[in-house]
Subunit: 423 residues, 2 copies
């Protein structure tokens, strides 16, 4: 049986899950996969899990890099430093690296990929996007015959949990956030999740792999959920839509658009029924048509499932293929990143209930080429009334200009909600 | 670039899709995957697609088996004969075989696997279950760290389409079947689909691969959808359940249960929102927790996506691993196949509205250890009324005996509906 020596760096949530999985599943993996995974060293700041003394690494270089019996280094401390130094050192020493570090990959891929390529070491990061959902492996190993034309994903569990509870329980954003924090599903400082940074990093990796072209984070539009009003969720519901924070990427020829924002999708769309903290990615390929993968995007054991899968995969691999498309220091000149994308829009405007206000608004939309699919006025003979508009497909930039102009109409109190609609 | 010679046998729906995909995607696959897929010969009874004359094989042995430039044989004629002869001949000649032939695999796996093992040829059948959904590849290549504990799948598109339209449009089974036939989604003789044979073959393959143990079709309980009454679907809806034809397999230690039958699942279950002819498989692994794959389970291009994926996979593979667990002529003695499984049940009984009938029924359930979660009597003071029972977890065999006894009560007109419930 093939013997593989492993070092584990980091013993936090995911590191602990990986440690447990390597212990629990060792025999099953030997039996099923014909490979023996031997954990040789663990490097951590503090050892929250009780592990044998001889496993504890005292020195990264001496105990891991210089130990020739260690073939694979699993990095699970996250963040940029010192994870980057550890990963580069391991790759330079010819050791395969397995990691779940999305921030690092999204920001430093060219450096890491170059180091791997130079030494011939493997670099596997299936766990960096969507935890236990094998979305990257599926694109690489199962959709090879396809051009991925678009993908839409719920790739941040915290925001899905918050929006789900706003929808199901009619909570405000603040109430739902507090609930998520109480359950340990949102950080004390929730910015990375609720402002869409986490989803942006993951979308950078996901869309780069889907389109075989580097999609850096600078080209991704990002809008979080902090301004989603429970009123908009309720109106969406009435109209048959569910509000989700979606990561969306589309490729048309050499034009790519990538964006993270709250989105209304029809209740009948498979993504609409992704509940709680679950994740899902919906892909359209030119051959396979629609396909969706659903599962747990975070958590110790689900993420460990992906990490250990990468370890087994790397252990059984005879050679490593390096992506060239993604190794560019700068983005390909052939590609165009579109920020004036097309979408339908849900718009909620609070206006004084005066005759003519609707005509004024509609006329401004018209002057920017925005065609309206439906207009609903809620209530009548009140000082202020909400007006709900759903547009046909419209371009982002003229729409935004129309909204600016509408917000300056005297009878308009505010443009209270604007949520893009995908179908 | 690696060059791979391919022969295609069969040019029907899926064969045509594969032909188109190999043409359309040739350059993209070369660019992305570094392998050149060269279609050398096509063998078909009639050439419905216009293909170059020199591609047409005249003789299987001379033009395909004896041609050393052909590395991979794609078999897409389906059925047992002559597919089996073609496949065995190709394997014996050391050529890798890629097929979507579920009937053949479910019934003749040991023979085929032995032939592959003997010559060292590859045998790939990812397209045999759920068309474009890479469910087998995912279990092999992404869930290796897991023991799969259970799986539930909508793995027959025809029956999902029929049940979906019964649910959404309130159609009877006969009406929905006629509609599916008119749309080309059900055969003139729909038996294989509506009686669950197709799902049974697929479940045999799926559960064997999930559990690493051969699950032959003889051990799979099979019940089709022809007796599903729109009344039961409507009552299920009231109670928050959706009716689906599910293929279910569970493993607990060395005990396996495998069954195909109409099933009520909560509306909130991800499988409940699988609409129309789509397929989905929901898996519970001991590490990854819940995971679901969704997509098109049939059709020319989606299935071609899986076939060509297997071809690329086989082309890039350095060695082939053969499953030993599944090569058994007889089933492992260690395994027990359970037919007295546990489930909750929805039961609809039509009874005369006489005092005491409910007590009699409840007493019989009780005497067989079946505990009731809810009882609903619909209507009152009518000659006959429907009584709806939902049980707690109960064993299949005593429940069936209770039903037999209940059906003999004088006041009971009929046991009109019995649908198992999973949550």
């Amino acid at each position: 049986m093939k013997e593989v020596g492993i070092a584990l760096i980091g013993l936090g949530t995911v590191g602990g899950g990986v440690y447990k999985t390597l212990e629990m599943q060792k025999q099953r993996i030997e039996h099923k996969e014909g490979v023996s995974l031997n954990l040789k060293k663990v490097l951590a700041l503090d050892y929250s899990i009780d592990i044998p003394e001889e496993l504890k690494a005292k020195d990264f270089n001496k105990d891991i890099i210089e130990d020739d019996s260690i073939d694979i280094v699993i990095e699970l401390i996250g963040g940029i430093d010192p994870a980057k130094q550890f990963i580069l050192a391991a790759l330079e020493a010819g050791k395969t690296v397995v990691t779940a570090n999305k921030d690092l990959i999204a920001q430093y891929w060219p450096v890491i990929n170059a180091a791997a390529k130079k030494s011939g070491a493997g670099f596997d990061f299936g766990a960096s996007v969507c935890g236990g959902i094998p979305i990257l492996r599926t694109m690489w190993e199962s959709l090879q015959a396809n051009d991925v034309e678009s993908l839409m994903g719920i790739i941040n569990g915290t925001t899905n949990y918050i929006l789900y509870n706003m929808t199901e329980q009619g909570l405000s954003y603040e109430e739902a956030l507090a609930q998520a924090q109480a359950k340990g599903l949102a950080e004390a400082n929730p910015t990375s999740d609720v402002e869409g940074y986490d989803a942006m990093y993951k979308l950078s990796i996901l869309s780069s792999m889907a389109f075989h072209a580097r999609v850096p984070i600078e080209y991704i539009y990002r809008e979080g959920i902090t301004k989603v009003d429970k009123e908009d969720i309720a109106y969406g519901k009435e109209l048959g839509y569910t509000v989700k924070l979606l990561a969306i990427a589309k490729r048309n020829g050499n034009t790519i658009e990538a964006r993270v924002h709250p989105t209304m999708i029809p209740d009948t769309h498979p993504l609409a029924s992704v509940r709680g903290a679950f994740n899902a990615v919906f892909i359209h390929g030119n051959i396979v048509d629609d396909i969706m993968l659903y599962g747990r995007g975070a958590g110790d054991m689900p993420t460990a499932s992906a990490v250990v899968s990468d370890v087994i995969y790397a252990a059984g691999r005879s050679g490593h293929r390096y992506t060239t498309f993604y190794n560019e220091e700068k983005v390909s000149d052939e590609l165009k990143f579109e920020n004036n994308w097309e979408s339908e829009y849900f718009i909620r405007i609070i206006a004084q209930d005066n005759p003519g206000v609707l005509a004024k608004i509609a006329s401004i939309f018209g002057s920017y080429g925005v065609s309206l699919a439906s207009v609903i006025q809620k209530g009548h003979n009140m000082p202020s009334v909400p007006l709900i508009f759903i547009t046909h497909m419209a371009k982002e930039l003229p729409l935004k200009r129309a909204i600016d102009e509408i917000s300056m109409i005297d009878d308009v109190i505010s443009v209270a909600g604007l949520i893009r609609v995908e179908s």
